[in-house]
Symmetry: D2
Subunit: 304 residues, 4 copies
């Protein structure tokens, strides 16, 4: 399913003026992403503001999203919570949706389980999921780290298809070398996009690809041709703007840029807030744009 | 409401053999806590496994808990989530329960709002809550830290009554000096119980007090009499056992001790797990008990 | 030797206009410290810019300092380096100086020995030192932490008299409870001055006592009388100014204040620099003084 | 001078049975390194136990080393200390030695200068050095980090030829993009060897190259041919053994392996210690060797 899928986008959830999901805007954004290098999607991840969606909204969103995206493009839907029973309930529901290929299950946040608890959590979910699950390891958000050993053990579960990993490159290298053959590994950190591919990972689940997809595609394609210098230089230029998209709570910076580009993705749901004017100016600066670039309409093709 | 309330217990939620809330066990535990020094409760905090309770369970739990506890003992009920709208909905419901004096609202976990978002989050909840709210700042679980300045600003909101704070003593000292007169501040870190009181905080919201309440009471009472040496020595002896109660995901170690003491609090809900045999033995050692102490029945009075 | 010695000053080394040690200024400062609460000295510690003194300067400084200070006031002289052989050589020399009561030996910095190497290092130095040695554990400067267990083992060496410790209060409590009876323990962190005393440590080796000695003395004396509230409030007010004295490389902020107070302690030796004007203004603000307070002459009695 | 110099070795200093520098062993090791991929040397760095050498020993070592190494192979000699005046004195002396091409100057350790102090420190040394200097930024040892901006400013100094950098890849990318044209940048972290080259750095100053030089050479050569997959796989296999060489204080693990391989490099000087038997067994395991491999004689060609 993930063959040649190096660049996936963790897509934002557009909201309309009434703070409801804006499906036409989502369709437009999906098409833009596919045209600029994206080869798969994670919908309803943190970037998609999933903590601020109701269960009913998630089911509707994933159902419509599954219809929007060509069937050969993998769709991974965010499901996991910090409650095993609840995660199982939603996984059964979401995994049955047509067009959802994989359920994304995060390491439980806030209640801080240990490795034994994580192993049990993912094993129980995998046992009942109608589709394969992907695990999501992001210690900076969850307060706990799933250890390499735990991941390797879980990688042998045939219904656990892979991992979205936020960690060091040392961990990434270890995982690539030790996980099961069938298991795919994506970095969840945009600045590791190139290095992950080089050490044998599958690629990146990206936020920056909403905006810099063409450059990321060019980077990967240069690498495949053996032109590591061009690839390396592109990563160097991408890294700071990738960082800038996290200088305020994500996805608010990404949405600010997309809105200026005319994608009409709306604001964020509380406790996240849309950027205010000084924040937009600071973001513009960090992206190498004129100070007021995000206050007016902006080209869909940004330079590095 | 919090006058003379120095020691509060963040009480565990007992489960029966069917993994349902065990109210008789809870009543027994409440009485034990009150007899051994506790002067207030937080029910449905992390220690109470609130992420693993349904909304209906929470409402029932808080309703019955409000009836169990004498009316002069403050009851703080855990409500907050990482979704502002959802937190508002539940706060209205829980705040209307008889016997709930305060709603506890955590800094949003996992989605990582910034200071502006936190300020808006707590302000909106406070605006509609039927009872005063207390904020809960615990960066190790939430991935973000509410800054001192933000707390000071929020302390002037008359419907925000106080803070449960997990941070450095430097931060505690700053907050005590700068927050509003009406605002109460409790440490959420047992090893800071003594220092917090010395620098002018209100006390501690404790896990260890389930088990070491008498010694904690003795420590505070020694301090009040000016006997800082006895108080200091007690803290020295308490600190390692307080730490031991977090050597596995909380509240599993506390429940293991309480079960051995005959309180019948049951296991934990997934993704948390009850301690297995080697873990119980390691915990016993860390508490200065014989290796198999937690495998058999244990005195309700542990020595330091 | 350390009975009733709760407050020691890690005294700065004054330099004259030619960047040579200014002994008259040192004498004046010593007298000031003794009058304002100091009961012992560490000379030639980091605060004394010992890395920027030659061996000959150190020997002269310690010889003269031994003569300056009343014989009942303990003098600890900084000796240790990250080279065991060299530390032994200097310890023999400095330990023979009249008036030097103790040699201070730092955990080796930069070359990052392990616990076994630290144990051997201190054991070999103690074996040949003419006077007892005190160890100095400051991971933020040395890049390695001497573990509690290693310290406890070394505390049983009769020629190792004590420890200057920069760590958590948990570590301090453990050490107080477990180290040898004869062993003294001082915090090297001013904000821990009060807590260290409360949990049974001997006191603090202070930088802030150059300037806020009276308040620190008052804090300790209040504690001894059982007035923990006054002591706690003083610590709350001292903590931020203690921190401010480290907002630029120490001892440059302390020297800036002392110079404004007329103590004529001069600048710093490279790679440390005297504060420039904007830095003096920022420091003044952090100390609660008027913006230009450190540009002109300043009272020797600062308020909190 | 550094054209095509991608792999440099920070060479250990061999000691004989009397703990004196063993020059025949050093010559043998130099030849081995050159044969297995090394294209330049840093002598008297931390790996060379420079904190444990006297000034006279350093001068003798660098003089003889300059003669050992072919003149087209760059030699960088460790000189810097945490005392600017002393660093200047030694730089003048060492920079005048025939065969020393560059003086390595570390960011001052232990006394923790700020950016202004670092800038002044390096500028003053560069002003008097007979040969170009290279700066060494290693926060884990020094306790302070030289900031990217400071490095960029210093890179424009014509007598500062480059940097040995231990930091994140984000910092490396920034520096490569922003430093002066003439300025060379090497990573001081073996696990970054490949990534550094890809993003445009000059290469790595390595410890692992004593032992795994052939594989590191093969890795770089694969990259140059565009075969990123082979290069990436080699890095994956090298990273854990590179880490193992730092599982005890460096260079003791490297010396243990070299001794088993017959290079006769001797022990370490205090406070560093030669590995004991259990440490050698643990290291062997971490290197993928039989448990007792380092207790007996070992092949000069280790497999990954």
């Amino acid at each position: 399913m993930f063959k040649n899928v190096d660049l996936m986008t963790a897509i934002v959830t557009p909201f309309d003026k009434n703070n409801q999901i804006n499906y036409p805007a989502m369709k437009k954004l999906v098409d833009h992403c596919l045209k600029t290098g994206t080869r798969g999607f994670v919908v309803g991840a943190t970037t998609g503001e999933t903590p601020e969606l109701t269960d009913d909204e998630k089911v509707e969103l994933y159902t419509k999203f599954g219809q929007m995206v060509p069937s050969n493009v993998p769709v991974i839907a965010g499901v996991g919570t910090n409650n095993t029973k609840e995660s199982i309930r939603m996984t059964k529901k979401v995994g049955a949706i047509k067009g959802v290929d994989v359920c994304l299950e995060v390491v439980p946040y806030y209640n801080k389980p240990d490795q034994r608890g994580m192993f049990a959590h993912f094993t129980q979910i995998a046992a009942v999921s109608p589709v394969p699950i992907m695990m999501y390891n992001i210690p900076g958000r969850t307060g706990v780290k799933m250890a390499n050993d735990t991941i390797v053990k879980l990688s042998h579960n045939p219904n656990i298809i892979g991992l979205k990993q936020c960690g060091t490159m040392e961990d990434m290298e270890y995982l690539v070398q030790h996980c099961d053959q069938h298991f795919v590994i994506y970095s969840g950190e945009d600045p590791q996009a190139l290095f992950t591919k080089i050490v044998g990972g599958n690629g990146v689940i990206s936020v920056a690809s909403h905006i810099y997809g063409k450059q990321m595609r060019k980077m990967y394609d240069a690498l495949y041709k053996g032109d590591y210098k061009t690839a390396g230089e592109l990563q160097c230029k991408l890294t700071p703007v990738m960082g800038a998209l996290f200088m305020y709570p994500s996805p608010s910076p990404t949405k600010a840029v997309l809105n200026a580009q005319g994608f009409d993705v709306g604001g964020c749901r509380m406790p996240l807030l849309a950027l205010n004017k000084p924040e937009k100016q600071a973001l513009a600066k960090a992206l190498g744009l004129p100070q007021d670039a995000l206050l007016h309409s902006l080209s869909k093709e940004l330079k590095l």
